[in-house]
């Protein structure tokens, strides 16, 4: 009997183990959430959506490089006498595929984060598993993700491709709508813009009024319908579609949530959260993911910081009348070691820390300037254009004008939007040559940047070229 018992025991052990099968070999991580788990419920989708914004603060994007270079390369800013070498490549337009803009990888991180949310809501999320979930909030998350994805593609195509208004059938950037390991080829500029408009227009009806109650610090660092409208106004402006630009700019201007800064408050709105003009901004905090720390825009622009690599040009300062309050948003080095030089002061830091700043992306003044440009280009009368133009000047302590030209408008954009990442791309979309003034005889590259030319599209990063066999480099690099 004993022998039978033992034999049975051995057999049972074998049978038990055989029955384990392949399920026994499925051990998913419990703590770092799997992609599937994260994207299967409202909380996960919500956190993943908020996570899609985080790369915007990267040193490669609004947190520093993208914003700084738009002014530095186009003569609003220059390499400062304190510079210890940062941003020389951009100042001198000596870009190559090894030192090119770092936006590429960062923007695709935001795009894939956003696409994960969009695709999960479209394809795998099942509200039936979450009784009581607010479907409007799920729609809102998708709308936010569509906004981030559009912004990512928009900034990529502005940096790495020729302007839509010049060669819209030239190579843009890959439109990436799915997070996957692949080797996507570049779409045309027109195809990229088409996707941007598609995403933003799809987002518009999905935003929930009032958004989602998240108890965030800065509600304007999350997108809403107004942000999507404002971005659409700008995108259409870049496409030369003045009619649509006017339409969306007007919608935002009509929105009572936003008020133009007054001359009296203009100097104090910087360094605050969700100021009255802000439609969408990037939230800066040195403790958050993607914080650029010592490379943050505020540190690069702070004359008393140890970097202070980039300062304002005199030819920008010369655009301001004496009474213009915008001329006061500049700072000198406090010890007086650098007479004749001033640094932009739109990024004074928050909570006493100079390396954490919010970066305005879309604000009301830009909407007036967009609409003004649309009016000047056949969508309205001179009176309408002048009214928008003077709406800004009246609130800046500047003289109001009775008739304006595109040059007046261009200069007004410089005065109002300097150091917020616009000027280079204004030149590009208007197909204008940049005529720089080599104020300190420090430019070692080309002084004037002739349009057209290969320099207007940044080279594709070498890492992408080497790992994506379908990638085509821009001409001239």
């Amino acid at each position: 009997m004993k022998k039978h018992i033992s034999l049975v025991g051995v057999l049972l052990a074998v049978l038990f183990l055989t029955s384990c099968g392949d399920d026994f070999l499925e051990k998913e991580p419990l703590l770092s959430q799997s992609n599937e788990l994260t994207l299967s419920n409202f909380d996960g989708l919500n956190q993943a959506t908020m996570g899609a914004y985080a790369p915007l603060y990267s040193v490669n994007w609004y947190g520093a490089e993208f914003t700084i270079t738009a002014d530095l390369k186009a003569d609003n800013a220059k390499s400062s006498p304190k510079s210890s070498g940062r941003y020389q490549t951009d100042y001198n337009w000596s870009q190559n595929s090894a030192n090119t803009a770092g936006l590429w990888a960062t923007a695709y991180q935001a795009i894939t984060r956003a696409s994960n949310v969009i695709n999960a809501i479209d394809e795998t999320y099942d509200p039936a598993t979450e009784p009581g979930v607010d479907l409007e909030e799920i729609d809102h998350l998708k709308a936010e993700a569509l906004f981030v994805r559009a912004l990512g593609h928009f900034d990529l195509v502005r940096v790495y491709a020729q302007p839509y208004t010049y060669q819209k059938e030239s190579l843009g950037v890959p439109v990436v709508l799915v997070s996957e390991i692949g080797e996507p080829a570049r779409n045309t500029v027109a195809e990229v813009y088409n996707q941007i408009v598609t995403d933003l227009e799809a987002a518009l009806p999905l935003f929930k009024d009032g958004g989602i109650a998240r108890e965030e610090v800065d509600s304007k660092a999350f997108a809403d319908a107004a942000a999507a409208q404002a971005l659409l106004a700008r995108v259409y402006l870049y496409m030369g579609n003045y009619s649509k630009a006017e339409e969306y700019a007007s919608k935002v201007i009509a929105n009572e949530d936003f008020e133009i800064y007054t001359a009296a408050e203009y100097g104090s709105v910087w360094g605050t959260n969700g100021a009255s003009e802000i439609i969408f901004e990037v939230y800066g905090d040195q403790n958050q993911s993607y914080a650029p720390y010592w490379s943050e825009i505020g540190y690069i622009y702070d004359p008393d910081g140890s970097y202070a690599d980039v300062c304002a040009t005199n030819n920008l300062l010369a655009l301001y009348e004496e009474t213009d309050v915008r001329a006061d948003v500049f700072a000198e080095e406090s010890k007086g070691n650098y007479p004749g030089y001033v640094w932009p002061d739109k990024y004074p830091g928050k909570d006493g820390v100079n390396k954490q700043n919010n970066i305005p992306v879309l604000r009301l003044s830009e909407m007036y300037l967009i609409r003004c440009e649309a009016y000047l280009n056949g969508e309205g009368t001179m009176a309408q254009a002048v009214a928008d133009f003077n709406k800004i000047r009246a609130n800046r302590g500047a003289t109001e004008l009775g008739i304006i030209t595109m040059t007046d408008l261009f200069n007004e954009r410089r005065r109002e939007l300097c150091f917020e990442g616009h000027l280079l791309y204004d030149y590009a979309r208007l197909n204008k040559t940049i005529e720089r003034v080599d104020e300190d005889d420090r430019i070692t590259g080309p002084v004037d940047i002739t349009f057209p030319g290969h320099l207007w599209a940044m080279p594709i990063p070498i890492g992408e070229m080497e790992s994506n066999s379908n990638m085509v480099q821009n001409e001239g690099y």
Partner: protein
Amino acid sequence: MKKVLLALSFMVMVGLQVIAQTTNVTGTVTDATDGSPIPGVSVFVKGTTIGTVTTPDGTYRLAVPNDASAIVFSFVGMTTQEVAYTGQTTINAIMKSDAVDVDEVIVVAYGTQRREANTGSVAVIKTDQIKDVPVESVDKAIAGKIAGVQINSTTGQPGAATDIRIRGNGSINAGKEPLIVIDGVPVSSGNFSYFTSTGNILSTINPKDIESMTVLKDASAASLYGSRASNGVILITTKSGKKGQNRFSVTANFGVSKVTNDHDYRVMTADEIYTYKRDAIINSGKDPNTVEGGFFAAETLPSDIETYNWEESAFRTASMQDINFTANGGNEDTRYFISGGYFNQEGIMTATSLERYSFRSNIDKDFNEKFSIGLKTQGSYVYQKDRPNESMYYVNPFWASQNLMPWDLPYVDADGNPTSRNTGVYNFDLPSNNNSNHLAAAEYDDQWSKQYRFIGALSLKYEPIKDLVFRTTNSMDMLFEEGRRFWSPYSGPPGEELGTLQVSNGRMQRLNSSNIVSYSKIFAEKHRASAMAGYEAMHYKYQNHYASGEQVGAVIPYLSNATGENSTVDYAYSEYTLLSYLGTLEYSYDDRYFVKGSFRKDGNSKFGADTRWGTFWSVGASWNLHNEAFINDVPWINMLKLRGSYGVAGNDAIGIYDQYGTYASGEYNGKTILGPENLTNPNLGWEMSATTNIGLDFAFFNKVDGTIEVYNKKTTDMLLDVPISRTAGFASLRQNIGEMTNKGIEVSLNYRAVSMRDLKVDVFGTLAHNNTTIDDLGGEEEIGDGWWRRHRVGGDFSNYYVYDWAGVNPSNGLGMWYTEDGSMTYDYGSARRVYKGKVEPDIEGGFGFNVSYKGFYLNTQFRYMLGQSVYVMESRYTNSDGYNWSSNQSANLLDYWKKPGDVTGTPKPLMNNSTGSNEWGTSRFLYKGDFVRLQNLTFGYNLPKIVLDKIGVSAAKLYVSGNNLYSWHDVPYYDPERSSTGGGYIIYPQTRNFTFGLEVGF
């Protein structure tokens, strides 16, 4: 001694045997080599506890039961003999030395095997070779003893991790350590302690419980462990009970240890550092002779200044105790081995130590001829106390001792004046060490790990017909870890009453079920065949709770007393499983020709569904030439065996969840966010290694035996981070793409120089040369390996990549560097980077001799590693040429440049030196790491039988043992040995130990 007495009193309970119906048998036992009688040979009736030992004239008398089947003669170092009993009254035996014991049985993967039948590369270490070596874990005891097994102590701290490399480094991104198997059960290894600088759970195993260790080096030996075998396997077999009388033994070791410092390394004395700094002031163009200049310094230090030796305060003479008790015995159907041990080793660095309590119980029970059961259990508790070693924390005693100025005094007196007298009140005005006093920290701060480990294995064996065996072994390996780190307010300047506390609680659990059926058969006398098939499952889980609290009162320093807001809790969890099918087939003919094949299929949850299952196999063959007729007649050839094998094994030592796409939390806009952390990687697979091994085992003249082996191990599918299109949101993906080759030769030799009855002299040595070549880095030419090393295609495993130091300009005393074009510059920024030196040795091994004369014996073990380089990273601060201005400096700098024309390797000192002469990653601080160590020397005395009989014990031994007695090397520092990466900061030096041991058997 109390413990010994306790054990002695326990001995009284020894039982007696009652025997009936016997015949007296007498005889003489002689030595085959010279015919001399051998005393002390144990003679017993097979299968019983009836026995005796031979007298000094080699004779014995034994009452043998009439139904006895055989008489067994056994003696240490000799082949055990069995003589059939058929009623003889005289039985003489001639004992042969077991130097060429071809019938020896060795432990191999999933069982045992006659050494004669071996086809793979297998090395065996027996308890006798390690038992006198006073170390806390067995890996340290075998360093230098096995050809091709490189064991580096990463630090000299008790309980420190070792880097074990069998035949070189076998991987870049996956694990490099061998699998550890105890009594047939794979166990966890590595470091599970949370707050200690180093840890090694092998220290939870009492080395005194170990009977033998087998190292499986090639595929034929190891591939049966499949996906875990590519870095080799170490099989540890614990002692088990033996039929016969109840035997008891007590061993006790007491010892002291000190830091190894064979070059008398030290920091500067007060006068030296004073003059050095004064010269630096002058060299910097300042005038130390006038007060007005602001840098006044008298020519010499005032003679009455009080100084303190901080190095002595950091390195103490530490004590050690190791006390073990064993009981062992059994009868026809039950055998047991039971042990208890206590081990306590103080570290040479203040407030470091390792204490262990352990027990083991190995019981085997045969219910009948077909069915038996065995239970092996061990429990242990290890308490490891630590300081922030291997770091530049100012409370790290070693680091502090390098920084603190000789005139910095550790205490303050009642008037608040600094003093070297221990007033119990610490001085914190110590700017040379960032105002930290390591003595205060050692007294008040806590940093420790307590580990509780339980390993149990229950096996059932069923043999329904002869040689058909079913065996199921079910085991658990559990480790509980408790950790604590308290940053006491009292370890800093007075006034602060609140500290910071961190605690952790972890649990590791590994369940293993192994189910094997085997059958062996001898037919037509000359054909032996055997087959084995098996099925296994393994389930591993780990979890850890961590909590920290701020503002914890020092009077009740527990988390319940934390009042700060920044308290945190964290939780870690991981789990993986393994499912395996395995089998072997063996055949041999006439003990001349042997072939063996092994197969294993592993499924592992670390890998995705498509890559989860892997197949591993090996084939091996051997030819025993000594059993061939044409060699059988050659009298001087005792053994000659040629072996060859080929097989593939895998490496599963990667992150448990690497295949999964995961999100991890972050922060944005004041909210917790989630972002992708890891890309889904369904194609992630094993690293594979294919090994060819050819070996020759030989024994000649009854004097020389040894093994020579050559191997080629090709690692393919090596995991590397390959760049991918950034449009995926990630820059790289880990892919099975690289290749690497380890080639080498191993030689081990033993020479029985003298083999007389009273005098024996054995000489032994091992030599291993391994050459690692990187063949493919997935298209890259080179990739970084930390900051100052690189892996290169065509290069060694890892080469240093350092700034090329050109020495000191004799005309001005400034340090220089070579530039790209070969010219020299003072500018570190313009220095070229060059490949210099490598982390792996060219040759490593050990040698020594064992002498015994009558009861005395002297065993030596030398160990050597040649060809590797080490980078002493902290030299940037300790040899800083004035850069680390406020701190003391190494006395190595004393040959500094003083006047034009001085030819020296040490630049002149400059105040706050900014020339870069002491910069990071420099060949200036890269040293040849070659060393030869006198690893162990033991001198002992076995008390003679006549004395033993008088005091009523069966064996007694006294010995003294020294570890790390001396090292020959050129590293200008305490000790030449570093971890397998060659770098590191402030590494706790190795220690020199002296122990006195006593072993008594009953």
